[in-house]
Every structure is written in structure tokens, then in C-alpha cells.
Symmetry: C2
Subunit: 241 residues, 2 copies
Amino acid sequence: MNTDTRTEPTELPLKVLAFDVFGTVVDWHSGIARAVDALGLSVAGDTFAREWRAGYPPALARVNAGERGWARFDDLHLQMLDELLARHGITHLSDEQKRELNSTWEQLDPWPDAIEGLTRLAQQYTICSLSNGNLGLLFKMAQRAGLPWDTILSAETFGVYKPDVKLYLGVAHVCDVQPQQVMMVAAHQNDLDAARGCGLQTAYIERPREFGPNCPNPDRPDPANTHVAASLIDLATQLGC
Amino acid sequence: MNTDTRTEPTELPLKVLAFDVFGTVVDWHSGIARAVDALGLSVAGDTFAREWRAGYPPALARVNAGERGWARFDDLHLQMLDELLARHGITHLSDEQKRELNSTWEQLDPWPDAIEGLTRLAQQYTICSLSNGNLGLLFKMAQRAGLPWDTILSAETFGVYKPDVKLYLGVAHVCDVQPQQVMMVAAHQNDLDAARGCGLQTAYIERPREFGPNCPNPDRPDPANTHVAASLIDLATQLGC
């Protein structure tokens, strides 16, 4: 743990925790793999889930680069699903089945520590999502899973996807605090690097099983993070909540 | 009550209730009047509150007309406060006192029926704010008052103020439903007229004391509203919640 950014001369108190959601708060791999397996496709859910998720960074990068207009995360997911099914030669799913499978992203379970961790953190800080998921996806997930967000912020709020600086600076602006009064919480070092570049504090959450039990997670925390925690409960403890 | 829009041929179910906040869910007049009186200014809080609020429609209209760039509701409130204090020849308040007075808008109390009504409605529908207040103002208000929003939507989400159609169509888009599956809930007929023009259902909430006990509220419901209710509890009962 490196606490440099917490003892800067300004000493402004930490006010807001902004959370990445997929992989950090909810377990996308298990939920997607289970839904795919339930359909009895010719490809294992474990593999399909990782392939679906892998389509997401390049799709978002194309939007951010202006190579395509704004597209909602839900719609990008559906388009990636179409491409993935075609690649696997799976042609028998109806549009309704595809939409239903796509809605699995709204129905992901939180990691076992997430609700308790968020609830404890919310007693002392404003907690918000800062996710590339669209607002509708995020609030449906929160309704189902009971995620106690104070407010839901999304790439859709800012019209651009992470890691664009507009999101990290935007959360500070929306909450009317200085960037160093916001801590980005994520299981992905690239998200935290971008946040730190904007002056936010950072908390790295270790999620060794993000990609499933059969696929080691290659992500590693940088020593420059303000905190590294094994769970959101651990983060709450580290922050004295 | 006119139920025409609820029995259209499409028969899509109502899914989302989008709420105006100031005057509809919270009592701005009492809260502002009390805060002004506590400062012992030379003008009565009762009058000052109404004057402050009256500055708001023209200020937003200037933003929507492009006569000035985007300005956050909080900042517009502070600017209106400066103008109002100057008009009354009040020059002794410090910047800190003005900021604190301005933050009263985050600390308004819900009408006595609001929490119970919202809580009942949330069991059956997605409930969200659709307010000209900025996101930070709205979530701080929700934290303090315990407003159980599923998600907070604001003019800030859409980059324009009500009654621009982008907000009413935007809430349907964000929630991934058709406009007729959204009901705008407001104590202001002009807000509901604009929502109805976009195909939303409308519920008019009677708030006879919106402008305080000494000032009759001239707002009247149009017979074309889907519902007219005496409170949010009454609306919950009318909707079978």
C-alpha cells in the first residue's frame, strides 16, 4: 500500500468511491458461463464467456476513436454476441433467445464480499458506479443484486467510454469535489492507471477468478495504487469503515 | 382521471415512473424559508424563497436557448442568490455563508407522503428522478432524505433542461422502454404537458402548499393527465401498489 496521495499538502478528505463494476463488484464470468451452458450450445460456457468479454475493449475503443457513433453497451454486447455465435457456426438461436442471453449481463451476481463491503463503505463515503455499462443495465443489476449505490454513473452519463479522462474528471465534477477526493476502485490496473493520471486515488481489488476457475487472471496491481485489497470488505477495513 | 393512454392498442405495460423533484417530492419552500430566516436577513424567508425559485425558469430557458453555455443547477442557484441578495441590498453575507445557504437545496425535506409513496411504488415500478437539479444535488438530497431512487436522472444526464424533449425521450431510452411505458410524475402541468407531447403517461400531484402557506398555488391539472393524485401515497394506491 502506498499512501503518498493521501498525505498530499492539500489534505482534502476522501469523499467519493467510484467503482468499476464488471469483474470488480460482480462476477461476470460465472453468470455468463452458466447462462450459455443452460442453452446447450456447442461451445463451453467457460470459453464463450471469456470470448464475449474479450470483444468488449476493441468495440469500445472504436467508439472512443470516433470510428463509429455512440453505441450503448447493451447494443455492443448484442452485436458482439451475434459475431461470436457466427464465428462458432451457431445459427439456431432466435432473436428473443439472443436478447435474453444478452440480458444476463444485468443479472450477474455480486462477488460474495461485495454487498457487505459496499454497505460498510457507504456509511462513510459516497459510493457510485463508474462503469462502461449503460445506465439501464447498471440500475437493473443494482435492483436485482441489491447494490446500494448512492448514484449510478456510467460512460453513458459522459458520452464516452473508459479510459477516457472525461469519466474520471467527470465523477469529481458531478460530486463537486477535487479529483484527489475520489478513489477509483477496480480490479483492473489499466482503469486505475487512467484514474491516477487524472489525480484520483486508486484501490486495486484482487479478483483472481475474474476469468473463471480455469484461467489465471494476469492482471497485477501497480505499487503506486493507494490501496490494494483482497475484497471490498478488506477495503472497508483498510479505510476504517 | 383519463385512462386513454393506458388502453392504447399496443397495451405495453407501465414500467418506469419518472419524478420531478422540487415541489413534487420535496418541499423547497419551507426548507429555503427556514434557512433564510435563520440568517436573520432583512427580507422574510417566505418571500425570499419564492423569489429565489422564480429566478429559475428564466435562467434555465437561457441555457436551453443557447444564450449561455451549460451551467449546473447548483451554480445557477448560487448566481440567482447573488442577484437576489443584491436586489435586496444585502451585502454582508460571506461567500461561505452564501455557499452554505445554497446547499439548503440539497437538504430539503420530502413531503410527508413522499417516502412511503415512493417505497410502495418502487415495489412494482422502476422509480427515477427526472429533475433539473444536478446529479450531485440530487444524490446528496437522496442520501439525506432517504429517497429510494432506483436511479437518478437529471438534466445533467442529458445536457439540457426540462422541458426539452431530450429528457422525456431520454428516460425511455435509458430504461430501454417505449415512451408510453414511462409515467412522468409532477406537481407542474407544464412539465406533464411536455412529457405527454413525447408520448409519456402523466400523473399530476397536487401540492397546494408548494409556494408556502401564504401563497395559493395557481397550478391546475389538465384533464388529459393519466392520473391526478393528492399525494404519492394516493398515486401508489391508484396504481395498485
